[in-house]
Symmetry: C2
Subunit: 696 residues, 2 copies
């Protein structure tokens, strides 16, 4: 199988431009690593002032190499890079790695040089990794084109985890931590400034790579949403779990990220939604990536969330149960018959899940395996956590348990077994060879199981293809709330009955026609946040109140926003009851239009109860979004209220998302807040449409 | 210094009843451990069938020992324990440890035996640890009265961490994890069934113990709130940080806890509030206890939340910044002059905090210390995180950095330095000896710093002593909402204007007197949840509406709750605007009356936005509670609304808490939900009082 990145990841030959005899220098390290790894392709050190470099025949220039060169590694000072790239182009090199720094991350000059580098390589049809890349390695083909100092302390063990990281320092520290934990690697690649190859394209490569079963990706931002979506789709199609990390979430983090790379951290929540769409697990720490990747590579993935816990310590059982429930795992209890059977084996045993064998098994530790076997025979579970305390440190105890435990594990070959115990590395290795994932801390074990169960869950149905529905093109460019409502109503969005009014008399007439109580809102193309401007009044219950408010509101708004053009007010029937929901869309610069659903009204910002998806979503997708929010729980008739028409609300959300998608070339955002979800339908009470190019 | 528990923790002599020659048996292990530890007191094995046990002279009975015996360890089958306790009483033993199981945790017979054990020991003035205790050790006095198998794998290193745990298995696994991490211990005690000595009393002991600087406590529940409060007060008075763990939070966890020990997990949130009151850090996992105890015992505690991060990797810097912000730490940036000074040292360096030295220091790693020194000279920080990647694994690199880093650390002796790097145990030990806390995972390091900063913060002022205020004794035993409001109003609680009405005519008259719009609520001694019963109507704006609703409400309530006695309705002026706040109290069976503040109205359960404190609180305490909730943020005038009268609300909360406290002998709960906080005061709109002995 060939892949566009083969020349990078598994070249048949490699030249090192700037090759050094010192294996501690940036141009010497890849040579030393390639030799140490036993790379079977041709290695060409390029160095005009040496005949041999690290015992290999050296060449004064790339042109002096007679055979074709698949890949060139450029380990030169930044200023010499462009000339070297030209040499590579002239020699028919297919892929270039640029270790040199001082490009996109180093001010305007560097950015200009990086653009030039990219253009020259593209013109020659060469792929580029970097600049400012730490390089890559591929254990299956023994190719080590990197200068990572992390390899000094820890030579990678071959395995099934493929790593694509933007930051080399970040990636290599992760590698060091993971290696210490015993993870086995297929590939590791650091993309650096990403003038051409990015993390997403590497993920696509890993998705089709035979040696890779688990993919780890670490980014600080994403500049090309389509590439990332293609990559995550490829990984999903190949059924390979993806564990992702993205830093730069916090204010201080984003500030640091901005100084660190050229890439925008972007809207973190949109990134999160894209990861969720493709079933990617987003880790919050390096250690968590290590734990989850370890669990997914050592044990099968759980197919669901039902965890069996068997423990020698009641207290640890309770701790594990707490942690499991906090992370969305269930602990289905065993039945009375099984409980009795376990009690017959071990009189001091207790519990239905966790099952606590207690210290009553001391003397015959095979009872532990018998109790676990009874538990697993009772009902289906998706994962098993075996807490074994110090048993592995006492040879006599371990000998009592070992064979029966391994036999049990083999009888349930498809089920992930996670052993939690204190043991030396030899025993941990033995357990891993038997298919146990091994943890010392019970909470970390539970966290990894929960993450693995999310990776192992069948992915949600892909978003439906652009349906055969007619497009919902927006007419014109509505400027006021009233205009926006009319335009959206024409596309199928339902609004509460309302009328415009340009005088107190007209407002009173509108209120009488609509029925009391009414809401009054200021009508102005210049005011988006009407509440803050004093331009919203609720509960007007009489002709007198409406007339008085008309004048009062104009006075307040004029005082707060004297420059705003006022076109009168909107008078709307005040609908009682119901649940206020926010429905909005925005066009993300990286991923395109997204739809947001959450708690509506004044509580939106305060409660932070929102969920996002890429637009469009269909009604099922809209329902799933509602289920992901707290406000969604109110819809089914919370505390005696009538249940809302969730179908109507889901239709409104889906239609809004379609409008955002179909008009993504000019709509920047739609804001329906609140939408009132009632038993008789879903009625938007407010509408704002923002267009691209509008002042923020 | 003497302490009531000295005979347990540091006896001058110890007898082991049931002493065994086999050091793997429960009666043999403590002898082996005492010998190994070099315990300097007298050891008396008691065994009627041996002359010598483990090379020590054995005694046929306790009575045969001529000298006085300070402590006896009972390692006998459960049925022989009571007789042995009688022997101890007869011999003047001061303290007894009971290793034997099968008491309080083993059904009714066992509970009866445990009560008997307790009574006989108390009558003789003997203190008891256990039964079902794993024992204890004390490294300062080399006393190892325990059969913990964890000691086989890891002999404790003396140090400053004292551990008091209820569950022995839980505690010993924690010990194993902590020992692997290099923690040093002063004491370890497992209290088991706690028929006498409990974890709280051990914490009190550790608070006054000279060798102990950091206290770890692990419980599944608490039966004696006063003892725990005294213990936490003693630790606070001694300025010793306490790290606590309590399991049994989740449903499955509580189920497992109930099968595991006799102790009720109780209301977890009340426990949480008590810990918070005393500045205790509550850890969520074993590893987190280890991390926090390690950090607190190796480095000084931070005095605040200002963290300086200096890093060789921008990506790790961003990760640390994200984690710090998520955990409430600040990263104050250095000023422009310092930034310029660092850039002059290291041209590729970036950032203002984190400061990223980048790989530009390779060649002269002392630049790292210079940059860090510039950063620390710029402004005050409370803790320093030094990310050092793999530097410690490269001897040449480490030699460049070492001296300057240690010199910097010594210049800032009072400041905690946390080093994050991959290193072997020798280097970790060296760093610890220089006063660095060492972590491999940056996120865990940040978490430990954040926890330590909370432990290091000056504790909040203790709750004021029972003031000289007159008690707020409740008159009578109000049965309906209207009665409750009258009784509470008499004690200083402000309610919205309202009237009772027993007919549609009376309701209409009341509404006219109060002013429209009005609220109508059903009045019944049998209905607590009026909304669910159909007994609340809002926004009644006319005479017609009030009359119609009167009939409609009676019909609804009669249909839903046919057995309820109906005494008419309450008609109240519907106050507009404002923020709905829940103010409630409940009497916790362990800790007494507590006050709860949170988001009010129908959102209370949904939002889970509540905070608790022991009652009474004063106005300052009430304000602090409001600041701990989301609803508190609404009070200062969210989104253009008028700011609420927070002083009035705080007074209402304080008064309510005083009422709960002053009537704690008969009030079970008070529920004011909602209290409407407006610019003109805080008005309770509803009131329920529940009394002890009421049907739930």
């Amino acid at each position: 199988m060939t892949h566009p990145l083969d020349a990078l990841f598994r070249p048949r030959s490699v030249a090192v431009i700037g090759a050094s005899s010192d294996p501690n220098k940036i141009g010497g390290r890849p040579l030393a690593f390639l030799k140490r790894a036993g790379y079977r392709g041709a290695i060409y050190p390029v160095n005009p002032s040496a005949e041999r470099v690290q015992e290999l025949a050296a060449y004064p220039s790339l042109a002096a190499i007679a055979a074709g060169v698949d890949q060139a590694i450029i380990a030169l000072p930044g200023k010499a890079v462009l000339a070297a790239v030209d040499d590579c182009a002239a020699s028919g090199v297919r892929a270039v790695q640029v270790f040199s720094a001082g490009f996109g991350e180093g001010g305007e000059d560097g950015q200009r040089e990086q653009a030039e580098l990219r253009a020259r390589a593209a013109a020659a049809g060469m792929r580029v990794l970097g600049p400012n890349s730490l390089g890559l390695f591929n254990t299956a083909d023994s190719f080590f084109g990197t200068f990572a100092t992390a390899l000094d302390g820890a030579w990678p063990r071959p395995g099934s985890v493929g790593v694509a990281t933007q930051s080399g320092a970040f990636g290599s520290y992760f590698f060091g931590l993971a290696q210490a934990r015993g993870l086995g690697f297929s590939h590791f690649v650091a993309t650096g400034n990403e003038c051409d190859v990015d993390v997403a394209e590497c993920v696509t490569f890993l998705a089709q790579d035979a040696a890779t079963r688990v993919i780890v990706m670490a980014v600080e931002g994403c500049k090309d949403g389509a590439r990332l979506i293609a990559a995550l789709g490829a990984a999903r199609a190949a059924a390979k779990p993806v564990i992702a990390m993205k830093v730069g979430v916090s204010q201080a983090g984003a500030r640091a990220a901005a100084t660190h790379t050229g890439s925008l951290a972007g809207e973190d929540r949109v990134f999160d939604a894209v990861l969720a769409e493709f079933g990617v697990y987003r880790a919050q720490s390096l250690e968590e990536i290590v734990d989850v990747a370890y669990c997914a590579s050592v044990a099968p993935l759980p197919r669901g969330t039902r965890l069996a816990v068997i423990t020698t310590s009641g207290g640890i059982g309770v701790l594990a149960a707490d942690a499991a429930e906090a992370r969305g795992l269930e602990l289905p209890p065993v039945g009375a018959a099984t409980q009795a059977a376990i009690a017959a084996l071990i009189p001091l045993a207790g519990g239905v899940n966790p099952v606590d064998t207690s210290a009553g098994i001391i003397g015959d530790l095979s009872l532990y395996s018998k109790a676990a076997g009874a538990m697993l025979a009772d009902r289906p579970y998706d994962a098993v956590l075996c807490f074994l305390a110090h048993i592995g440190r006492n040879p006599a105890h371990w000998a009592q348990l070992r064979d029966s435990l391994y036999a049990l594990r083999r009888r349930h070959a498809g089920l992930p077994f996670i052993a939690v115990l204190l043991a030396d590395t030899a025993l941990i290795g033995e357990l891993e060879a038997e298919g146990f994932a091994v943890f010392a801390d019970p909470t970390r074990a539970v966290n990894a199981i929960a993450a693995a169960s999310r990776l192992g869950a069948a992915p949600a149905a892909a978003a439906p293809p652009a349906a055969s529905r007619p497009p919902r093109r927006l007419a014109g460019r509505p400027a006021t709330e009233a205009d926006a409502k009319e335009a959206l109503a024409a596309l199928g969005i339902d609004f509460a009955p309302e009328q415009r009014a340009g005088s107190a008399d007209a407002a009173a007439a509108a209120a009488a026609a609509l029925g009391y109580p009414v809401v009054m809102k200021i009508l102005s193309p210049d005011i988006v946040h009407k509440t803050e401007a004093g331009g919203v009044a609720l509960g007007l219950a009489s002709d007198t109140a409406v007339r008085a408010e008309y004048a009062a509101m104009h006075g307040r708004v004029a005082a707060r926003m004297p420059a705003a053009r006022i076109e009168g007010v909107i008078v709307a029937r005040q609908l009682g009851g119901g649940v206020e929901v926010l429905v909005g869309t925005q066009r993300d610069p990286v991923f395109g239009p997204v739809v947001t659903v959450g708690m509506g009204g004044v509580m939106t910002e305060l409660m932070d109860d929102v969920t996002l998806r890429r637009a469009p979503v269909d009604e099922d997708g809209a329902r799933a979004m509602l289920e992901a929010t707290r406000v969604g729980r109110l819809l089914c008739g919370f505390r005696g209220a009538a249940a809302a028409d969730v179908g109507a609300l889901a239709r409104l959300i889906a239609r809004t998302s379609e409008i955002a998608f179909d008009n993504r070339d000019h709509i920047a955002a739609i804001d329906l807040n609140p939408v009132l979800a009632r038993h008789d339908g879903a009625h938007a009470l407010d509408a704002v449409i923002a267009f691209q190019g509008d002042a923020a």
